[in-house]
Amino acid sequence: MEKLINEFSFGLFFWQLLMFVLLVILLRKFAWKPILNAIESREEGIKGALDAAEKAKLEMANLQASNEKLLQEARLEREAMMKEAREIKAKMIAEAKDEAKSEADKMITNAQAAIQSEKKAAVAELKNTVAELSVEIAEKVVKGELSDKTKQLQLVDSMLNDAKLN
Amino acid sequence: MTIPTIVGAGLIVIGAGLGIGKIGGSAMDAIARQPEASGKIQTAMLIAAALIEGIGFAALFAG
C-alpha cells in the first residue's frame, strides 16, 4: 500500500483524467453517436425488411389460400352447373319422351276412335246395303213368289225374323 | 518483505485461487448442463471471480 502511494504520480493522474474525459466527450460526438446510430438504423432496416418479407410471405400464403378457395369454388360451381345441366337434359328428355308418349297415345286413341266410328259407319252402311239388297231381293222374291197371299205373309215373317239377327 | 508477510501473501493467493477455481469449476458444470445459458453463466462467473480477485488484491496490497 505504501509502495502504491509512493508510486502515485499526480501528473499522470491529472493527464489521464483530463485526456480520458476529453476523449469520451470527443468520441461521443465524433464516433460513438454516429456509429451507434448507424448500427441501430441498419438493424432497424434489417428488422423492417425481415418483417416486410414475413408479411409478404403471409400475404402470399393468404393469396394462395384465397386462390385455392376460389378455384375450389369455381370447381364446385362448375360441378353444380354440370349437374344442373345434366338434370335439365334428363328432364328435357323425359319430358319429350312423356310428351311424345302422350301424343302417341292420343293419336292411337284418336285412331282407335276413328277406326271404331269408321267401323260403325261401315257396319251401318253394310246394314243399309244389306237392307236395300234384302228389299230388292225381297221385291224380286215377292214379285216371284207373291202370287198368293199366304205365301207372301209367311215370307215376310220369316224374313223379318232373320233380319233381327243382325 | 518479512516472512509473515510472504506467508500471508501465500495464504491469500491460495484462498483466492481456491475460490476462483471453484467458481470456474462450477461454471463449467453449469455450462455442461445448460450450454444454451453459457453466456449468462460466463458473465456471472467473471463477475464473481473479479470480486474475489479484487478482495485478494486488496489484501495483498494491504500487506
Partner: protein
C-alpha cells in the same frame, strides 16, 4: 517429413535467439560477473515498470562503457515556485542535474526531486529521497502514450463513423471493430444496465474498453510502454466510473445504501456504513484489479525472459523462451480480459445505480 522440417525450423529459430541472448549474457558476465546478472535483471524489471521523462525505446552499453539511449526527449512541466518547463534531455536519464530558474532538479526512479547543484539526494529513514516535486505535470512517456493512444482511437473511430455515410456496412478496420462495439452494447451494456437507460452510458463504456485494451496491448510491445501498471492511471479510470455511478444514481440506489428496504430498522443502521463503504470499495477494486493484473503480468513475463540470461545451458534458456512465449499469449488474452472486466463491472455498477424499484425484495 513435414514434421521434420518444422522441427528444424524451430530449432534454427531457438538457435538464433539463443545466440543473441548468449552474446548479451557473455558481455554481462565478463563485465560484472555471473551473480550480477540477477541484480541487473531485477534492476531492469523495476526500471521497466517505472515511468520515464523521455521516450526511450531501448538503451545499451557501448564499447566505452557508456549508456546509449535510443529515443527522444519529452517536455518536463513542474510547478515549484511557479511554472517551470524544460526538456527532459537536460535530466540526462537520471544522471544529470537541470538548473531552471536558480533551482536544481534531477530525476531518480521516474520521479523529479529538487536538489543542489551537485545533485545529491538526501535519503530519509525509509530510504526514499527527500525533496520530491509533487506538482509534476510533465509529459512523461506514459502521458505521451496516453496522448498518442487517445489520438489513435479518435482517428480510427471517427474514420469508422464516417465510413457509415457511404453504406450500411463500415469499410476497412471498422468492419472488424463493429462486432466489438455491438458486443459491448448487446452483451455488456444492455444486460447490465437495462434496455431503457443503457444509451447514456455507451460512450463511456466503449471508450474505456477500447482505451484499456489498446493501451494494454501497447504494453506488450517491446517499446516498454506500461501505462496501465500505474496506479494513477487506473485510479483516474476508476474515479470516473465512481463519479458517473454517483451522479447518475436514482433514489432507489441511495435508498438501498442508507435505508435498505425490507430489513429491520436496526439492521438498516448497521448496513448503511457497510453499503456506503461498498460504494468506495467497488471502484477501489476496479483500480487495484487492473493495476495488479498488468503489473503482475509484466513482472512475471520479464522475469521469465530474464531467466534466459541467467540460465547458461541451452535447455534452460529455450525452456524459458517457450514459457515466455506462452505467457505472452496469455498476456494478450489478459489485455482484452481486463478491459472487458473493467467495462463489464462499470456497466454493472451503472446498472445498480439506475435500477428501478422492484417490489419483490
Amino acid at each position: 517429413m513435414r514434421k521434420n522440417i518444422l522441427g528444424r525450423l524451430l530449432t534454427l529459430f531457438v538457435l538464433l535467439f539463443s545466440f543473441q541472448m548468449g552474446a548479451v549474457e557473455v558481455q554481462y558476465s565478463e563485465e560484472k560477473g555471473a551473480t550480477d546478472v540477477k541484480s541487473e535483471i531485477k534492476e531492469y524489471i523495476s526500471h521497466h515498470l517505472l515511468d520515464s521523462y523521455d521516450f526511450g525505446l531501448y538503451s545499451y552499453t557501448n564499447d566505452e562503457g557508456n549508456h546509449e539511449y535510443v529515443g527522444f526527449p519529452l517536455p518536463v512541466i513542474i510547478w515549484d515556485d511557479g511554472l517551470k518547463v524544460f526538456s527532459s534531455s537536460r535530466l540526462k536519464h537520471d544522471e544529470g542535474v537541470a538548473e531552471v530558474g536558480g533551482n536544481f532538479y534531477r530525476s531518480y526512479h521516474g520521479k523529479i526531486y529538487k536538489t543542489d547543484a551537485a545533485g545529491t539526494l538526501k535519503m530519509d529513514a525509509d530510504n526514499h529521497p527527500e525533496g520530491r516535486v509533487h506538482l509534476d505535470f510533465s509529459i512523461t512517456k506514459n502521458v505521451f502514450t496516453i496522448f498518442v493512444v487517445s489520438l489513435l482511437i479518435l482517428l480510427v473511430f471517427n474514420r469508422m463513423a464516417r465510413s457509415y455515410k457511404k453504406g450500411a456496412i463500415p469499410t476497412g478496420i471498422g468492419r472488424g471493430l463493429e462486432p466489438i462495439v455491438q458486443y459491448i452494447r448487446d452483451d455488456i451494456a444492455i444486460p447490465n444496465i437495462g434496455v431503457k437507460k443503457y444509451k447514456k452510458y455507451m460512450p463511456y463504456l466503449l471508450t474505456v474498453f477500447f482505451f484499456i485494451w489498446i493501451i494494454n496491448l501497447l504494453g506488450l510491445t517491446p517499446m516498454g510502454i506500461n501505462v496501465t501498471n500505474n496506479i494513477a492511471v487506473t485510479l483516474a479510470l476508476a474515479l470516473i466510473t465512481f463519479l458517473i455511478t454517483t451522479f447518475t444514481a436514482n433514489k432507489n440506489y441511495w435508498a438501498h445504501i442508507f435505508w435498505m428496504p425490507g430489513v429491520p430498522p436496526l439492521m438498516r443502521i448497521v448496513l448503511a456504513p457497510i453499503e456506503l463503504l461498498g460504494t468506495l470499495i467497488k471502484p477501489f477494486s476496479l483500480m487495484i484489479r487492473l493495476y495488479a493484473n498488468i503489473t503482475a503480468g509484466h513482472i512475471v513475463l520479464m522475469s521469465i525472459i530474464g531467466l534466459m540470461f541467467i540460465f547458461k545451458n541451452w535447455l534452460g534458456s529455450s525452456l524459458s523462451f517457450f514459457l515466455a512465449f506462452a505467457l505472452s499469449l496469455l498476456e494478450l488474452l489478459v489485455a482484452a480480459l481486463q478491459a472487458y472486466i473493467f467495462t463489464m463491472l462499470s456497466a454493472l455498477y451503472f446498472g445498480s445505480a439506475v435500477e428501478e424499484h422492484h417490489e419483490d425484495h
